[in-house]
């Protein structure tokens, strides 16, 4: 039988691991980090697996050359094809860097999204230059501008 005290300790430990995982994934990765399933970024693309050649990836990913490795699998339920990529020499950064698009995987994240668009749509969607009026130099406005600039590279993983 597990005592109330042991339960509390376990719950506390679980909470601590979750907080640490969000702030710095490296601290909670398994011992084989960097080899098996860590650091992969994935998208599901509506195409057949044979439409994606791991050795001849779309341009945005091909530009990263030997710095990345890729895996291709059919997605369950006819949802398309899962394309996973990761940097060989780098690991996921902490959450603030991922959300702001300034972590080590930011270029890879952006390249993966652009590759998906190229395969599905045939072109990468642009938004700039977009018509706008006078921009006021408020702190909030500058912060939003900075976030918008990095948003194409930002993400949860």
């Amino acid at each position: 039988m597990i005592s109330t005290g042991e339960n509390a300790v376990r719950a506390g430990g679980s909470l601590l691991r979750r907080v640490r995982s969000a702030l710095d994934p490296l601290t909670t990765l398994p011992a084989h980090r960097g080899q098996a399933d860590s650091g992969w970024l994935a998208v599901t693309i509506l195409c057949e697996p044979q439409d994606i050649d791991r050795d001849n990836l779309p341009e945005p990913l091909a530009e990263l050359g030997d710095r990345i490795e890729a895996r291709v699998h059919a997605a369950a339920g006819d949802k398309g094809t899962e394309l996973r990529v990761r940097l060989r020499e780098s690991s996921p950064g902490p959450a603030p860097g991922r959300f702001s698009g300034t972590d080590s995987q930011s270029d890879l994240r952006s390249a993966l999204r652009r590759a998906k668009q190229l395969i599905e749509v045939g072109e990468v969607l642009k938004v700039d230059p977009t018509p706008h009026g006078e921009r006021a130099s408020t702190p909030g406005g500058l912060l939003l501008e900075a976030w918008t600039r990095t948003a194409p590279k930002a993400g949860l993983r």
Binding site: K116, E120, P129, T130, P131, T148, A151, P152, G155
Partner: protein, 391 residues
Amino acid sequence: MKAVTWRGVNEIGVEDVPEPTILNEHDIIVEVGLSATCGSDLHLVGGYIPAMRAGDVLGHEFMGTVAEIGAGVRKHHVGDRVVVVSFTSCGQCWYCKQGLWSLCDNGNPNPGITEALWGQAIGGCYGYSHALGGYAGSHAAFIRVPYADQGAFTIPDGVSDERALFASDAAPTGWTGAHQAGVGPGDVVAVWGAGGVGQMAARAALLMGADRVVVIDRFDNRLEQVRTHIGAETLDYEDVDVAAELREMSGGRGPDVCIEAVGMEAHTPGAQHVYDQVKQQMRLQTDRPAAVRDAIYACRKGGTVFTLGVFAGLVDKFPLGAVMNKGLTLRGAQQHGHRYIPEILERMSRDEVTTEHLATHVMSIDEGPKGYQMFKDKEDGCVRAVFRPAS
């Protein structure tokens, strides 16, 4: 060109901005004929969705004439009269192919913002903040329309500009709510909010075979429009006990489907409104969910509640106990208009859907600030202020 712009919280301007250009081969440029204000714009105007920059062009509900086409456009030609769905969706990803167009994987060039907010990025929307792509809006002489073969629809001859305008957003949003909520023959449907979207949700429910449709609001002129133009019944929540009336109207069961078409700035009489307003202003909750709470309490056991009004973040005092114990289905969505607009235009051409009455105040771009003020304050019976850039 002149455009109506967001200048700051509760500050609307009219500015000269550059004309848009073709950026992708699937783009078209539309010369805007009419562009409507929308209740969801008020969340931007009031600063409740803090992802607007000073100078951003507002407007996402519009129709006009094709002025220029990209090299990859197949469906449209210069001179076509078109209505454009407010969401930008690629038409090629899994979500678009499932008919869930507003969930498009590729339509938002700034996916990092909404991934951080909601866990996943959804499609983009014209003039609706940098969180939904940073696209320029339609309150201007011209607008760029990406994925034009997917999002622009030729308006049938015989459908007026004023009618077709609301096939851009209000009508397909209403259709999304009624259809995704599963409205069918014999249903009793209650709709909270008698603005453009609420009226169209009610009309859609009637056309989908609902036995009885009731719309709830507090503005006499909007309720009158519902009775006259939509053919639904009405309740004024300032005069009656809505939950009791709905029980009576549905044989004691409660409505089978409850559609909330109010959004994050809901008004309620009494202390609840003050409580929600204070918490929202103190940023202890981002959205005021009063109408959603009412819908959940009113809905029959095992029924469906659909949140069609725009919400951005977190709400307080959410009656999850009622959702769970009554076995409710709770759904929500931005509009998947691409799948509904062809049907809506066809019904418009047969006079089964009429919308001209929504455009209570048509004005020039120069009157943008006045139009938004009238719309926000419901001044002079304003249901929608609509801008005509050419005037």
